[in-house]
Every structure is written in C-alpha cells, then in structure tokens.
C-alpha cells in the first residue's frame, strides 16, 4: 500500500523531517523575494510605491553606514525591552495572585478586563501631554498595551492548574505557599513564557506607533522621516528589519524555553 509521496504530505499531523522543515521555511522567503522582485523589476509597480529589493537593501546599507541607523535600532529595542520588562515585572505577580486567590480575582478581574480593551495607541496624545515625547512616554505606551494583557492571560494560566496536582501536593504536606510557588508556578511556567513571547510581539507595534506619532529617534521615526522624502526603500527596510528582529527574538525565546522546560519535550 505505497502511496505517492505528494499524497502522503497531506496526511493530517504526519511529522516532517527537521531538514525538510527548515528547507520549506526558507523556500517561502525565496518565493517572497522572487515575487517582490518580479513586481518591481518587472515594472508592475511604480518605484515610488514599492522599491525593488536591491534598492531597499542599498537604502538600508546607506542608513546604517551614513545615518547611524544602528543607533535608532538600539533606541527602539531599548524602548521595547524596557517597557515590556516593566510591564511583565508588575503584571506577572499580579496575574499569579489573581489566578491563585479568588478574592483577588473578584476584585481585579472586572477592571482588568475593561482596561484590556483600551487601545494603547489611543493614549498616545494624552501621554504626550503628560510626559512629552521623551522615553517615559514611549515606555508608558508599551506598558499600557502590555500590562493588562499579561495580567489576564497569566491569571487564566495559573487558574487552570490541574486540580488533582494541587490536591496531591496538599496530601504531601504542602501549605498554601508551597501550592502557589512549587505547584502552580512551575506548572504554568512554560505557558507563561509563551504568553510573554506573544505580548513582546505586540509591544513592537505599540512602540512603532508611538515613534511614528512623535519621536526624535528610533525605527518608527526613521520611517516617518523617509516618508517625507518619498524614500520607499528606507521605509520598507525599516519594516523588514522589525520583522527580522522579531524572528530572531522568537528563535531565542524558543531555544530558552527548550532549555528551561526540558520536561515538556517528547519522549
């Protein structure tokens, strides 16, 4: 009963060899660049609207070499990481408390659920009024965008701790402290890391929006400046670069998770 390999590829959930996985992932990037190249060099899209790949990367090179774009990148990364770390440092403990203790949940959950829907970008004009356009304002935008989301997601994760694990720990002599710190927390830790990875991605959106609206430096500021000179190459390079940074952070997060939580791996 040997079937053609092409058909086998569409059997649901059948694993794929690691080499093939990487190759397929790279193949998509190749297609992406091919399409981009075809659209621009083929003359389907005017250079004013979309720079071709070569011009884009030439623009990127110029930015890095002549205009100290590396400094902008560092500033933006600093803002994202700073805002995210402050938000996570406060939100994770509050989320844990909410997930573990029902009165805390009853007290905070309605407000957090409400606040979660407030778009961080809507606060930017107000935050400029409060803080100006300096770093505090950027951090505040990221904080508002990340904090409430993290609190709520962590609370759900902690609250979902398997009841029988908690009970087993009680019969082994664990007290309330032991249950929270040595059962609920390690149990939810991998998903907490996953949540943080997700929210870090959102933090990038907030920081760029904040930089587009008012900033003296940063990737978003560069994109805004480039628009004034109709330099689509630079704009696209800026956007592309954010994607690359995101991809690298994701890989780092995944590698760290494999290290930190070996018990999650398959047999």
């Amino acid at each position: 009963m040997s079937r053609p390999r092409v058909l086998a590829a569409f059997e649901p959930l059948v694993p794929i060899a690691p080499g093939a996985r990487v190759a397929l992932g790279i193949a998509f990037f190749v297609c992406f660049f091919a399409l981009w190249g075809a659209a621009t060099w083929g003359g389907w899209v005017k250079p004013l609207f979309l720079a071709d790949p070569a011009k884009t990367f030439a623009a990127g090179w110029r930015l890095l070499v002549q205009f100290n774009f590396a400094g902008d990148i560092a500033i933006t990364i600093g803002r994202v990481v700073g805002g995210f770390v402050i938000a996570a440092a406060l939100a994770v403990p509050i989320g844990i408390a909410m997930g573990a203790f029902k009165p805390v949940e009853a007290f905070l959950e309605p407000f957090v659920s409400f606040a979660r829907y407030l778009p961080a970008s809507a606060f930017i004009p107000l935050l400029i009024l409060w803080f100006g356009v300096d770093e505090k304002q950027k951090l505040a935008v990221i904080f508002i965008g990340a904090f409430f989301q993290i609190v709520l997601m962590i609370a759900v994760l902690i609250g979902e701790t398997r009841r029988d694990l908690v009970e087993a720990a009680y019969t082994l002599g664990a007290g309330n402290r032991g249950i929270v710190f040595r059962v609920m927390l390690p149990n939810a830790a991998p998903q907490i890391a996953e949540t943080l990875r997700l929210v870090l991605g959102w933090a990038w959106t907030y920081v760029i929006v904040a930089e587009l609206i008012g900033a003296e430096a940063g990737i978003g500021h560069m994109i805004m400046d480039s628009q004034r000179f109709l330099d689509t190459g630079q704009m696209i390079f800026g956007i592309f670069l954010i994607g690359v940074i995101g991809l690298v952070t994701d890989l780092a997060f995944r590698a760290a998770n494999r290290r930190l939580f070996p018990w999650q791996l398959g047999r």
């Binding site: 720990a169 002599g173 664990a174 040595r182 018990w263 047999r267």
Partner: protein
C-alpha cells in the same frame, strides 16, 4: 502506624442552580485498626472516593467526624499519604524530585531527600529512572513513583483511591503484588478504595462493601488468607469463595444503581 475512626460521617453535595442536593454518603462508621489493610469496595458512583477524600482532608463531611489516632482531621496533611487514580506526578519534576517533594515541603535537606528517594526508588523498582520526567514513564511506572512519593513522608496512613484503575490487567496484577510486599514490610495502615473485587480480596484483610448511592456500609468480609500473599492464592478455593460472596453483594448494588439511573 495509626488507627482511623470514621464516626457518623455523611456528605451531601448542594444542588446545582437550585437543583436537588445530592446525598453521596449516608452516615458511615468505620474503625480501622493499627496496621490494618482495609479495602472499600463499591459500585462506581457510590461515594467511596468521597469517603476517602474526607479522610484525606480534601473534602469536608456534612456531618460526623474523622479522627486519626484520636486527632480530628481538618485539612490534608503529610501524615496521610494518598495515591490517586489519575496520574498526579508533577510533570516538571524528575522521578527523584517528585519523590522528594513531600520531604522538601517539610524542610528536609537535599542530601537526606536524595537518600529517601533513592531507597524508595529501589523499593518500587525505579532505580534506573531517577532523572526521568513523568511523561517518559509508562502508566505503571508513574503509579509506582506516585506510591513512592506518598511513602516518602513516612505517613501513618496510606490512602489509595483506585490507584491501579487506569492500568492494564497484567500491570495491575504486578502493582498489587508490589503494594502487598510494601505493606508486608512496613505494615502501614491502609485504606484502599476499589471497584475490583479480586483486587480487594487479594490485598485486604477486611473488605467493606458499600451500597449504591447514597453510599453506606452494606457488609463486611474478613479475608483470612495468610501473609505473605502470593498471586497463586488467587486460584485457591477459599479465594474463589470470598470472590463469589463479594460478587453477589456488589452485583445487587450495581443492579440497584442501574435501576435508579433508568
């Protein structure tokens, strides 16, 4: 070593959304002597697990009281070790760390925890698996580790809630022998909940039969088989007689439960 007094314990679960409350346990009196191995046998849903959970302190009786060595049970504690039917090893801890969990909660130092865990792993046949995570183990191995984890606190009483219920027949038979050998060595007081008649007869000195819900003690059968017990005892006429007697009693209750649910 300790005795357990269950005195007029009853449990009623409140009705869901104004529904009728569910009476799980009628008043129950059981006295378990020091070093005794008592099996509680009943059809599924008869409240036998609820009774065990009350002894563990994981559930509160609606009325009545449970005492261990005369001390009332109010919350779970390390003096009452428990093994559950579901796999409850902590997935993020290795086998050794799982077994060391209870001692760690009590503030036992690293070196001593290691010694306790290593001795118990040898006892339950997991010596080569100290650094394995639970998901790398078969169901039978996980339950052996769970038994070792419960024993690590050196509890006065062992509460077993159908610990082999999820295992295949062969593994289950081996686990029964393992548990028996552990009991024959330590003679800890054991309360063992099961719906498996053969298991109850093979393991216990006394078998208490529970009725269908609401559960109460229907009858008590003493198992006069000597220790140490060997699996061949399962083929003896005396064993068959006890099994028949209990099958009769349980069958009645199962039929009653089935009739109630129709």
């Amino acid at each position: 070593m300790a005795n357990v007094q269950i005195a007029a314990v009853e449990r009623t679960f409140p009705g869901v959304r104004g529904g009728v409350p569910t009476r799980a346990l009628e008043p129950i009196d059981i006295t378990v002597a020091d070093n005794d191995f008592v099996a509680i046998l009943g059809p599924s849903g008869c409240g036998k697990s609820t009774l065990l959970r009350i002894v563990a302190g994981l559930d509160r009786p609606t009325a009545g009281r449970v005492a261990v060595d005369g001390v009332p049970v109010e919350r779970p504690g390390a003096d009452r070790g428990m093994v559950f039917q579901s796999y409850t090893l902590f997935p993020w801890l290795t086998v050794r760390e799982n077994i060391g969990f209870g001692p760690r909660e009590r503030g036992v130092g690293e070196a001593q925890r290691r010694a306790i865990a290593d001795a118990l792993m040898a006892k339950v046949g997991l010596a080569g698996f100290a650094d394995h995570y639970p998901r790398m183990l078969s169901g039978g191995m996980q339950q052996r580790a769970a038994l070792a984890r419960a024993l690590a606190n050196d509890p006065k009483i062992l509460l077993l809630d159908e610990p082999f219920g999820a295992l295949d027949h062969q593994t289950r038979a081996l686990m029964q022998e393992l548990l028996l050998s552990v009991w024959e060595a330590d003679r800890k007081t054991v309360l063992f909940v099961t719906h498996d008649i053969e298991e109850a007869v093979f393991m216990a000195n006394r078998v208490l039969v529970m009725t269908a819900r609401p559960g109460r003690i229907k009858s008590e059968v003493t198992v006069p088989l000597p220790h140490p017990r060997h699996w061949r005892m399962k083929t003896m006429p005396e064993f068959a007689r006890l099994k028949e007697q209990l099958t009769e009693a349980i069958r009645e209750e199962t039929l009653r439960a089935a009739a109630m649910n129709v």
